[in-house]
Structure formats: structure tokens, C-alpha cells
């Protein structure tokens, strides 16, 4: 093995590296129009989303109380989170229960209702869409539920149950740990016809009519076959969009609970989810480093969930 050969080999690597770099630059120059189109969004997105996310991930390795400069403490926040924080484990359990129920159900509700109203005449369809979307647009959605589940004898549910003799004492629906979680799930499901619902409506409107005719000729027998073999495969992109929305909404539904109970903390942590844990540390206890670590863990949980849903959706129409 002579040293000359070694130098030669290194030179070839150097040359191929340089060739590769030239190739890349050439390609970038060739596609310069693409980057120009991407630039307005890309710059704003980088500045106001990517940079803050990266900074938050960085902060998760520090002790940061928002008054003094952040102090690097390695993975201590994560160790504390998994080994010492009992409440976090409650939050994880609640989040998983909550996400497993509200995610799939609200996703299904969005699609099924969009699919149903798609068959109606335009005026009826627009009207129905508004009625279903009302909880998302009205700005007072929780008021109606505090009226229904009010803890005194005048609450609608209490009034009804007492009138018919099921109970003799009013139940504190929003304070009793047995009921907070189920009530929150009901309310979130009721509010679930939001972004994905509108996207599904718009998506169903853009489907190719030709494929339906072709399908009828190819022997599609009923509406369910038509849905499975023609409608859904064309909607894969929209379905993935809805899935991402369902995942983020169901994992981060703390705001619904907070609004309903009018407090971010619930009795005995009965409806304490990861986001509430995060809010508790971030805004109440001024422990931002720890809150960032929670956000990172939540992020990975959602990414894993998204990967699984992607695998499932790839099977649609097969």
C-alpha cells in the first residue's frame, strides 16, 4: 500500500465531492424559480415557526425561569419528568385516553357528516354546514354547557334527574372527578366539526365525476363500494390532513377543558392532560425549561401517532 495510492484515492474523493457540489449548485440554479415561489412563505415560516421551535428545544435542556438567564442542566428536565413527576404520568394517561376516544370519533364525524351533506342541494348544504360549524364560529360555545351541567339544582341535567327522582342532591358535574373527563369528551366531540369538516366538504366537491361513471361501468354495486373504491382513494390527501388535525386537536385539547371548568387545574387532576401540565409549569410556576421538555415529549408522542395513522391510511381503497 503506497502512500501515492492513498493520495490518489483522496484526490478522487475530493474531485467527486466537488463534482457533487457543482451538480447541487447547478440544480439549485436551474430550479431558482421554485425557491422564489417558496421564499415568501419560507422566510416567515422559518422566522416565526422553525426558529422558535428550535429555541424551545434548546430551552428544554436548561433551567429557565424567564427572569434570570437560562442555565444549562443537560437532560435533568427529562429525568425529572419521567422519574420524579407523578402528576406527569397521570397527565400522560389522561391524554392517551382522551386522544384515543376523541381523535378517531371526531375524525369519523367530520368525514361522515361532510359526506352526508355533500349529497344535498347547494342551499340546504350551505345551511347545514353552518349549523354544524356553529360551535367553532360562535365564540360562546362553552356557555351552553355550563348551563347544562351547572352544579346547582337549576342546571338542566340536575333539574331533569331530580325531577324524575334519579337523584335527591344536585351533582357538581364539573368538580366531581368521576364526571369531569366524560363531560369534557362529550363537549369536545360536540365541537369537533371544525377545520377538518370544512376541508372534507371542499375536498368532496373537487372529486372527478368521470371516475364515478367509470366505477359504475366497472361494477361498483352500492354506495359503500363507491365510497371505498372511488371516493376515499381520491381523498387520501384530505384524509391525511384531517388525521393530522385530529391528532393535534386530541392531544392538545386542554383549552376545551380549561374553558369548560374555568380553571386549568381539575379536581384530583381528573382531566389533567399533558398540555395543562405544560401550561401549569410554563405560565403558573415560571419553569419554562421544564415546560419546553414537556412540549418536546408531547411532540414525539404526536409524531409516532402520525406515523401509525399514515400506515393505516395507505391501506385505504385496497
Amino acid at each position: 500500500m503506497s502512500s501515492a495510492a492513498g493520495i490518489e484515492a483522496r484526490r478522487t474523493v475530493g474531485v467527486s465531492m466537488r463534482n457533487w457540489l457543482v451538480q447541487v449548485i447547478k440544480q439549485i440554479y436551474r430550479d431558482r424559480e421554485c425557491y422564489l415561489f417558496l421564499a415568501p412563505f419560507g422566510i416567515v415560516f422559518t422566522l416565526f415557526t422553525v426558529v422558535p421551535v428550535v429555541m424551545s428545544i434548546g430551552l428544554s435542556f436548561t433551567h429557565f425561569n424567564m427572569l434570570q438567564p437560562a442555565r444549562f442542566i443537560g437532560i435533568n428536565n427529562y429525568l425529572r419528568l419521567f422519574l420524579e413527576d407523578d402528576v406527569f404520568l397521570i397527565a400522560v394517561k389522561n391524554t392517551l385516553i382522551y386522544a384515543a376516544i376523541t381523535g378517531p370519533l371526531s375524525y369519523l364525524a367530520c368525514f361522515v357528516l361532510a359526506w352526508f351533506i355533500n349529497d344535498f342541494k347547494p342551499v340546504v348544504r350551505a345551511f347545514l354546514a353552518l349549523l354544524f360549524y356553529a360551535p367553532s364560529i360562535s365564540g360562546n360555545a362553552y356557555m351552553i354547557w355550563t348551563l347544562i351541567f351547572s352544579g346547582d339544582t337549576y342546571g338542566l341535567v340536575n333539574g331533569f334527574l331530580m325531577h324524575w327522582g334519579f337523584i335527591t342532591q344536585p351533582i357538581q358535574w364539573l368538580l366531581d372527578p368521576r364526571f369531569i373527563m366524560p363531560i369534557c369528551i362529550i363537549v369536545v366531540l360536540w365541537m369537533s366539526l371544525g377545520t377538518s369538516f370544512l376541508v372534507f366538504i371542499a375536498g368532496l366537491q373537487g372529486l372527478s365525476r368521470d371516475l364515478y361513471e367509470a366505477g359504475a361501468i366497472d361494477g361498483v354495486r352500492n354506495r359503500w363500494q363507491e365510497l371505498w373504491y372511488i371516493t376515499l382513494p381520491q381523498m387520501k390527501g384530505h384524509l391525511m390532513f384531517g388525521a393530522i388535525m385530529a391528532i393535534t386537536n386530541s392531544f392538545t385539547a386542554a383549552s376545551a377543558i380549561t374553558n369548560l371548568v374555568q380553571d386549568s387545574l381539575t379536581t384530583d387532576y381528573a382531566a389533567h392532560t399533558i398540555v395543562q401540565h405544560l401550561q401549569d409549569y410554563g405560565t403558573v410556576r415560571f419553569d419554562m425549561g421544564y415546560a419546553c421538555a414537556i412540549a418536546v415529549v408531547l411532540f414525539f408522542a404526536m409524531v409516532v401517532c402520525q406515523r401509525i395513522v399514515q400506515k393505516l391510511l395507505d391501506r385505504v381503497g385496497q
Binding site: 360562535s138 366537491q205 373537487g206 354495486r221
Partner: protein, 286 residues
């Protein structure tokens, strides 16, 4: 058996009626907040504080609205200024997001170039990061740019809202056939013309939906920690101030809820009916 089912591919009138009844039942449940808000706005104070509360108003009155307009007239900064601020933020924020997001989505969907997949991956991932913890870095960046206490602090970040890009991308993927773009390129159309004259008209349902969503999210914006000058504050902020003037303002509050609903609902209805109109007349996506 099969031949019977074949006939039902187009839905029967009876089936339609059953579905309609089911939908109306469900809809009457979801529509409650709008009904309750409107009913509340016309209740006299005696009914607003009635125990037990009633869903529907018995003796409707316009007093709440009259009180609200009297209070609005007394405002130190004229109400029209707050409204103008809101309209500036909502229109520039929404328009900027629709244009920036759809331009980016267009090249990401129809062209292959270095970094495209990486960029799209980052967009999808960023949808899943809790926004609670990015608020402070966001504030620091806005402060460095010197945008605190300007419209830009609310408008510009809205342009980069990832929901818009993701939505537009999915619709362009699904609704724009490659042949259409190739035909346009052979005809010598440049990228901007293809984007503006071919792609955008064909994904009208997508950006009409995006407008609804962006309008709604920006309309409720109070300026938060980013805008503190009184004359730059938005309408929801000013109206909240009025409502928080005491318990006796409950009636005014009910009127405010209805007043704030009017524009988002109008935009919703107009855009939803346009989605339908496009499809009905041009028979597009063929």
C-alpha cells in the same frame, strides 16, 4: 339481490328523508350556541339574570344594543378606529397567508427540487409542536425586529401559518393533473401564469375554505402582548373592555357576542356558497 342494490346507487327519496331528519337533529344540537347567543342579546336584564335561565327570550328588547351603541359612542378612541384596525389585520393577514401559502404549495406539489421534501417535512412536524412554549421565542424575535406595537407583529406571522400551506398542498396534489401543467408549459406559459391562471382557479374550494379559517382566527385577535397602543388595538379588545365594565354590562356582553359573530358568519356563508357555485356551473375537475 345485486340488481336491487344497483338501483340504490342514486339515493332514494325515502333514504334522503331519513338522513335529513338525522342531520337536522344533530344540527339542532350543534346550532345551540348561535341560537342561545341571539336569544340572550334580545333579553331584558330581568330575563338575563333569571334563575333558572331560559334558552329562549320572552319579552324581546333592543335595549342591549342601544346600551352598547351608547357606550361605544363614549369611547375615548372612536369605535370606527378599532374596527379599522381589525379589518386591516384580518384582510392583510388572510390575503398574505393565502398567497404565500399557495405559491409555496404550488411548487412543492408540482416540482421536484432540492430541499422540497425537507421543507414539507418541517411544515408537517411544526403542526405538532405545542404553541404555548414558542410564545416567548416569538416575542423575542418580534422585539428584535422592532415590530412590537405595530400591525406587523400580528399580520406577518400569520402569513407563515402552516395550516394554509398544508391545506393548499393537499388540494393541489389531488385536483391538478400533471397533464394540465405539461400542456400549459408546452404552450409557453411561465410559472407565475400557470400558478395564477390555471392552478388557483382550479383549487378555488381550497382557498375559499382557507379564507374562512384565517379570517376567523384573526378576527378574534386582541393584539395580545404584541400591540399595546390604544389606537392600534382591535375591535374584540375594545368590546371586551366595555363588557368588563361590571356585572350590569351582562346585557351589553350578550349584544357584543352577536355583533362579533356577524362578520365571520357572513364570510362563511358567502365562501361556502361560492364553493358550490363553482362546481355547479363549470363542472370543473373533469
Amino acid at each position: 339481490m345485486i340488481s336491487i342494490r344497483e338501483k340504490r346507487l342514486a339515493r332514494s327519496a325515502g333514504g334522503d328523508a331519513v338522513v335529513l331528519v338525522f342531520l337536522l337533529l344533530a344540527a339542532s344540537f350543534t346550532a345551540l350556541p348561535i341560537v342561545y347567543a341571539i336569544s340572550n342579546a334580545f333579553k331584558p336584564l330581568s330575563e338575563l339574570f333569571l334563575f333558572p335561565p331560559r334558552l329562549f327570550v320572552r319579552n324581546p328588547t333592543l335595549a342591549n344594543f342601544q346600551d352598547l351603541f351608547t357606550l361605544m359612542a363614549q369611547s375615548w378612541v372612536p369605535m370606527t378606529r378599532y374596527l379599522l384596525n381589525s379589518l386591516i389585520i384580518v384582510s392583510l393577514g388572510t390575503a398574505g397567508n393565502v398567497i404565500a401559502a399557495s405559491m409555496a404549495a404550488y411548487v412543492l406539489s408540482t416540482r421536484r427540487f432540492i430541499g422540497a421534501n425537507l421543507f414539507m417535512g418541517m411544515v408537517v412536524l411544526s403542526l405538532m409542536f405545542a404553541q404555548e412554549v414558542t410564545a416567548i421565542p416569538n416575542y423575542i424575535i418580534l422585539a428584535r425586529l422592532g415590530w412590537i406595537d405595530t400591525y406587523a407583529a400580528v399580520i406577518v406571522p400569520a402569513w407563515g401559518s402552516t395550516l394554509g400551506l398544508y391545506l393548499m398542498r393537499k388540494f393541489i396534489d389531488a385536483m391538478i393533473p400533471v397533464e394540465l401543467l405539461e400542456a400549459a408549459r408546452i404552450d409557453g406559459a411561465n410559472e407565475f401564469r400557470i400558478y395564477w391562471n390555471i392552478v388557483m382557479p382550479n383549487v378555488k374550494p381550497a382557498w375559499l375554505t382557507l379564507i374562512i379559517l384565517m379570517f376567523q382566527s384573526l378576527w378574534g385577535n386582541t393584539g395580545g402582548h404584541f400591540i399595546y397602543s390604544e389606537q392600534l388595538k382591535t375591535l374584540p379588545y375594545a368590546l371586551n373592555q366595555i363588557v368588563e365594565g361590571g356585572v350590569a354590562r351582562q346585557g351589553v356582553g350578550a349584544a357584543v357576542t352577536v355583533l362579533m359573530m356577524i362578520l365571520p358568519i357572513t364570510v362563511f356563508v358567502i365562501n361556502q356558497s361560492k364553493i358550490i357555485e363553482t362546481m355547479g356551473t363549470s363542472g370543473m375537475a373533469n
